[in-house]
């Protein structure tokens, strides 16, 4: 089948040899190749919002019995590039009362982590990804930096609406990060690895020869973890029904009210790329990553599943009304968090029933879940594992 991964590895090997023949030392050649790979990845990531914005416009239009953009290019395909060009030419306005440095820094802080987060994502077999041992933890850690961008945007704009948006955004993202991380703990416990590549490959087996052994198909625990992770991911990306940081009817447009031109575009870029990243994580953790039947190459399976979850995100946006601020917090702390904790206990129980042998302890207990968040359940959890 048409696998891109091995081809890319081959190409990069040739490129390294070519650099060496040009007189570069091995270290210089490796650095050069890394630079090339990074540039390639960033270009691909920059193209994602172009497609997602178009998809969002079209899907929302179809859901409301409209046609959406139709005039720029065939079926309005060139609408997003045209809008990007428009944004490039727009005047960059900084309000008088703004903190000029923070106003600029906010954009960078919000958009820069996006590109780093894609480093450990396993796109398919043989892709030259960075095989990070701390994969999922790394993604959570780096994507958390974007919260600072929203806070800085809220403060740096010198506008009360922006400020309120920034405050809401910070409260929401810090709260929802906890159930999001805890919902991944069952997956991490099950495959006893934080490495996204390992988690994806571990799901490539079959039950009875046909049923895929993806984590979502484990009765009970798989579905709960999936739902909690999906809801928390929608909240993390600040999209409707969790878009209180930029609620149009309440806050003009929240933390990015005072941004125009490309600065505004970068906030949007960050949002859409995070939608894609969350979908890619859902695919890796719950849907078996690049696993699938052999008639399509693995990277196509990965992309297909990811786009399916992206569609879910868009569907939510045009279906649900916005939550009120207090209900939003209540939902997180009183529903999602307990659910995620109960799920961890259930998973540990399941694993102890399945493998009551002695050797399960050292390998399975190797994931210090409480390193991420000191939850009250950790003491109980570790004791349960020790028994």
């Amino acid at each position: 089948m048409f696998e891109i991964g091995p081809l890319l590895i081959q190409a990069f090997t040739y490129a390294r040899q070519f650099l060496t023949t040009l007189g570069a030392t091995p270290l210089q050649a490796v650095v050069g190749i890394k630079f090339l790979q990074t540039t390639l990845t960033i270009s691909i990531i920059l193209a994602i919002p172009l497609f997602l914005v178009y998809a969002e416009r079209k899907i929302s239009a179809f859901m409301q019995a409209r046609l959406g953009p139709m005039h720029t290019g065939p079926w309005g395909l060139l609408q997003t590039p045209a809008d990007t060009i428009k944004l490039l030419f727009k005047e960059d306005i900084v309000p008088q009362g703004a903190d000029r440095l923070l106003h600029l820094l906010a954009v960078i802080l919000a958009a820069a982590p996006v590109f780093v987060c894609f480093a450990p994502v396993p796109w398919g077999t043989g892709f030259p990804l960075i095989n990070l041992d701390t994969g999922i933890l790394f993604v959570f850690a780096v994507s958390g930096v974007s919260t600072l961008g929203i806070l800085a945007a809220g403060w740096g704009s010198g506008n009360k609406f922006s400020m309120l948006g920034g405050l809401r955004g910070a409260a929401q993202m810090v709260s929802y990060e906890i159930p999001r991380a805890l919902s991944v703990v069952p997956v991490v416990l099950f495959y006893s690895s934080l490495n996204l590549q390992t988690i994806a490959t571990a799901q490539m087996e079959r039950w009875h020869g046909w049923m895929p052994k993806w984590f979502i198909f484990y009765p009970g625990i798989g579905q709960i973890a999936f739902i909690v992770f999906l809801i928390a991911s929608v909240a993390e990306t600040n999209r409707i029904p969790f878009d209180i940081p930029e609620a149009e009817s309440e806050l003009v447009s929240g933390y990015h009210t005072e941004y125009s031109g490309m600065k505004f575009a970068f906030f949007f870029l960050a949002e859409y790329v995070y939608v894609f990243l969350s979908s890619a994580l859902v695919t890796t953790l719950f849907l078996g990553g690049a696993d699938g039947a052999a008639f399509l190459p693995s990277w196509m399976w990965f992309l297909g599943k990811t786009l399916l979850i992206v569609f879910l995100f868009l569907w939510f946006r045009w279906t649900f009304p916005r939550l009120r601020v207090d209900r939003l917090m209540q939902f997180c702390w009183q529903f999602l968090l307990p659910l995620a904790l109960v799920n961890i206990v259930l998973t540990v129980g399941w694993m102890m029933c399945k493998t009551p042998s002695q050797d399960v302890l050292p390998t399975q207990a190797a994931i210090p879940s409480s390193e991420m968040h000191g939850s009250p359940d950790d003491a109980g959890l570790t004791k349960a594992v020790e028994k």
């Binding site: 903190d99 440095l101 923070l102 820094l105 990070l132 041992d133 701390t134 933890l137 790394f138 959570f140 850690a141 780096v142 958390g144 930096v145 919260t147 600072l148 806070l151 800085a152 809220g154 403060w155 400020m163 920034g166 405050l167 910070a170 409260a171 993202m173 810090v174 990060e177 934080l194 490495n195 302890l361 050292p362 207990a365 190797a366 994931i367 210090p368 409480s370 390193e371 991420m372 000191g374 939850s375 009250p376 950790d378 003491a379 570790t382 594992v385 020790e386």
Partner: protein, 164 residues
């Protein structure tokens, strides 16, 4: 000078620079942002020394959690004095003496330490860390989680008090 050593010095210079801004800037929000940056550089040091799990945790907890909360509080208590807060203490002479003394002690102590000339090869640490935390170090680990539990219960008590 080798490449890791160069990176180390560059990171140190940046971190010291940002920390200096934290204690000299009169703008509280900017100061907090610079403190966030120095926290990030601590993560970079961990990564440089081969502690990949520690670096990610540092970023997750300090940059994405603690510092966001600090900034949150700064935004909430926004008053005009935030922008011209005096950065020098009234008793700055004893403070300077104390800081200088501690600094001298540190320099004296670290002069005697044989530092490894070779940096460790970056390899996975999470498995070893897990074995340690649930094996030899299980008791301290449990005690630390008790401290966190107490903090959580305390937060809950304060929260309930305000509601009633």
């Amino acid at each position: 000078m080798t490449l890791p050593l160069g990176i180390f010095y560059a990171l140190s210079a940046l971190m010291i620079g940002f920390s200096l801004v934290v204690v000299t800037s009169r703008n509280l929000f900017r100061g907090a942002m610079c403190l966030t940056a120095s926290m990030g550089f601590v993560a970079a040091f961990f990564a440089l020394l081969g502690g990949d799990f520690l670096a990610a945790s540092q970023l997750l907890i300090y940059v994405g959690g603690v510092m966001v909360l600090i900034l949150f509080v700064v935004m909430f208590v926004q008053t005009p004095d935030l922008f011209r807060a005096r950065q020098t203490s009234v008793r700055w002479i004893p403070a300077l003496l104390l800081a200088g003394g501690v600094g001298a002690l540190f320099i004296r102590a670290f002069c005697h330490i044989e530092s490894p000339t070779e940096l460790p090869v970056l390899q996975p640490t999470s498995t070893a860390l897990g074995h340690l935390l649930l094996g030899d170090m299980a008791v301290p680990f449990e005690v630390i989680s008790l401290v966190l539990l107490a903090a959580l219960v305390g937060a809950l008590v304060f929260g309930l008090e305000r509601e009633s």
